[in-house]
Symmetry: C2
Subunit: 279 residues, 2 copies
């Protein structure tokens, strides 16, 4: 099986490395306008050769779109126009918008909209990992629109990666990820900005930062080129969750201002229920 | 050397286990009104015997106060009244308030106000670790008020734990920890409440939660009995930071509402500067 990876960053690179290691693909073609990424990906053994988009489509059995979500939307019609028996899938963090674009294409049955729930705060081919994805969930959206053989191939691919497949419609997906992924990134970015603002006054502050700070702010290292388009595409859902989050923070603020420590304790006990979900 | 641990939770238990393993203390006395904690601590080899507070003070060379910060304030005068050559230190997350209380005591020179910047989101003796604290920073406050021998002993203790000692005044300490510790806990609690609120409508949401969510929400498992008194004592600083954090979140909100994606990108690029501090 020959895989074409469009975009050789963290996701594309990790897909290529892991699928090759598992023996699911034998040969990987890389497509990326960034020459540095091309060279790095060749160097790291992520891809076997670089091709232009058109040639890569013609030469491959399965095509993974692993670019920022705004680029994926631009590329999808171009790619679907050129496919015959090939299977195309994306790995983007938003689904409603790309499914909408796919629906206008005659070959929409060849496209499998997916979202593997794996990632790190790092980006670029050097961040790629060869044992990624295992034990995590992946989403396949609107499966009733997908050609049977295309769906089957992508399901097999995710099973090979050791992922647990969830099926849902794109709209539901986008609401859910606003809660369990997008808002975490916004709070981390905002927390980093809060603390960096303070740092201007005091150099010593970060000598005190320990594990708790690190884990809540880790995501603030995430790449703007990837995340701005995600937030744009999922604007309505992200705003809903952000408003709810600000209102939850205001409850903490009110309990402190009013020295209502019983209420503060209640808020914390309620938050502790997250133990049911996070072990 | 004989150590008395007042409060046998995560901090007290980890201190006892690690200091014994390092050979810094040979014998550990435990003081805790919670009978279950007493038994668990004996079972786990955290302590060698249980004593009442008065007897423990008389029988020990060094006394660690490792209770919630409100209890520490109540105990400190009682303990200082009974010490002679013993050294007393605390490990609480707020320092201004306890230093203020110490200052009213005639034996204030025997008390070393400290804050080791180590912890986990778990609590109780079962959460204690025997290889804790290493490579982290610890703070000693207002050292000019401390008897020379007492300061030296506590410095030696933290050096044995492999910690890097920072000296600062209690006021500065409380401002800094509001930024690098207390606000992280509040955002985690609020984020957990945001998502738990949504969960009522949808069971599937947590199947999608991955590493990013887990790391930003991990601290939401933290114990209310420990954190409410910290927030109470550091109320003014925490409110300052919380207001700044809410205003940073509002910038993200405004950029999304106005679809000002250039500004959104700027906010994220600014947050990325946290890379300078977190590797």
């Amino acid at each position: 099986m020959r895989l074409a990876i469009i975009g050789m960053g963290l996701m594309g690179g990790s897909l290529a490395l892991t699928l090759k290691k598992k023996g699911f693909v034998q040969n990987v073609i890389g497509v990326d306008p960034n020459v540095e990424h091309q060279q790095k990906a060749l160097e790291l053994g992520i891809i076997d050769e670089v091709m232009d988009l058109d040639k890569a489509i013609a030469a491959s059995d399965i095509i993974a779109i692993a670019t920022p979500v705004n680029i994926a939307e631009q590329l999808l019609p171009l790619i679907l126009n050129q496919v015959d028996k090939q299977v195309v899938f994306d790995v983007g963090s938003t689904k409603e918008s790309i499914v909408h674009i796919a629906n206008a294409q005659s070959k929409k049955g060849r496209f499998v909209p997916t979202h593997p729930m794996w990632g790190t705060e790092f980006s670029g081919p050097a961040a790629a990992q060869s044992d990624a994805f295992a034990e995590k969930a992946t989403v396949i959206c609107n499966k009733e629109q997908i050609d049977e053989d295309a769906l089957e191939l992508v399901e097999k691919l995710y099973q090979q990666l050791g992922m647990h497949i969830l099926y849902m419609n794109a709209k539901q997906h986008d609401i859910h990820v606003a809660y369990v992924s997008h808002i975490s990134h916004i709070t981390s970015f905002a927390l980093a900005n809060t603390v960096l603002e303070k740092e201007k006054e005091s150099d010593a502050i970060f000598e005190l930062a320990s594990g708790g700070f690190e884990s809540t702010v880790r995501l603030a290292k995430s790449n703007a080129d990837m995340w701005v388009p995600i937030f744009m595409q999922n604007k309505e859902n992200v705003l809903d969750v952000l408003n709810e989050h600000i209102s939850q923070l205001r409850k903490f603020k009110a309990s402190l201002e009013k020295e209502n420590f019983e209420y503060l304790s209640e808020l914390i006990h309620n938050a502790n229920q997250i133990k049911r979900i996070l072990k």
